[in-house]
Assembly symmetry: C2
Homo-oligomer: 222 residues x 2
Amino acid sequence: MWSVKVVGLGVVALSLSLELLVRFLRRLRPGRILNEVLFFPSDLACVEHLFSPSSPRSCLCSLPHGVETSFSRLLRHILSATSSLDLCVFAFSNMDLCRAILALHSKGVIIRVVTDKDYAAITGSQIGILRKSGICVRCGVGSVYMHHKFVVVDHRLLVTGSLNWTLTAVQSNMENILITEEPQLVQPFIKEFHRLWVHSDPARYLHSSDQKPAQSELRREL
Amino acid sequence: MWSVKVVGLGVVALSLSLELLVRFLRRLRPGRILNEVLFFPSDLACVEHLFSPSSPRSCLCSLPHGVETSFSRLLRHILSATSSLDLCVFAFSNMDLCRAILALHSKGVIIRVVTDKDYAAITGSQIGILRKSGICVRCGVGSVYMHHKFVVVDHRLLVTGSLNWTLTAVQSNMENILITEEPQLVQPFIKEFHRLWVHSDPARYLHSSDQKPAQSELRREL
């Protein structure tokens, strides 16, 4: 009778220990889902070290160095891409973000960009520079705005929010972005990007008037 | 020797069963975190039943009835508020969303709105209607855009994305919203709303020129 009690207690103790161990390991594991929120305007700081991690102290500019800001966090997430980057953004005129995309492209990361056809053509847009470097860019079809501002990194990490990829959005406006690896949130964006990518394939509209910019529609809606 | 083996196997089996049971119960529990993504433009459908749930078949309009769309899902989440709704939106001209906010206000839900000062004054904006009904609205300060598009329902549910609260955004543009109860994502937005709410208190700027609309700044940046 006594030995049955000991075995019973042993079983309970071992089960509880195992459960606690599983929970502890789950907290420790490096693959824990990332969830992060960043707000803008971002503080100003030098981001040169993100582009040249081997020589972090080489920049002599007058901006603060070694400071983590909302913008440097965003750049870090973009530059973490190792295989693919699917970008869907309304306005893209930020030169640091353009430099990040070009750096990834030169490392062999597969870049796809969907953007708004009217805003791709305005002064300061970086879309032409991306195209000239060989990056595949497609424009939203029809007279409506392609108003998304999201990017999916390595089919794993989603960055989305109110922030256009412009200097004013980063340095002046009140904006937000949300960064997550939660599959329930990332997967629908991967699927939507694929849908938009196929839908905006110019080969589908070679004989259509859909691709002609409707100037009268410019700035109709934010 | 044989009994030791039996006890050992029993211990392993029981531990595994407990772990599986814990995982099963975790999936079943009603408090499972909501994560949802909606894309726009939304299909057109009647949303009258969401405002009058007691008489769902009373509407005779020509729109499709009984159809769930991205917009009806958004409305459902907004109308689920029971205690508070903190809205931070750049452009607000959608009359159905205004009606939802007024319905919540009349039920006693505490509504707070932060919006962009320039867009609050344009034709079609619903901000004046909210103010006239007694809802407290504050405008972003300075000459920069208050470009957020998020709402926190009952300090629990976050709705955020690229979508302004306008008819064009809902029915024409390519847009997204993300709905989540994940505390790591919701809490920073609650904190940021509080910061913006305090920062845009007009009592702080009674003797300042900050609140004067800068017409020249209009439509500077999307």
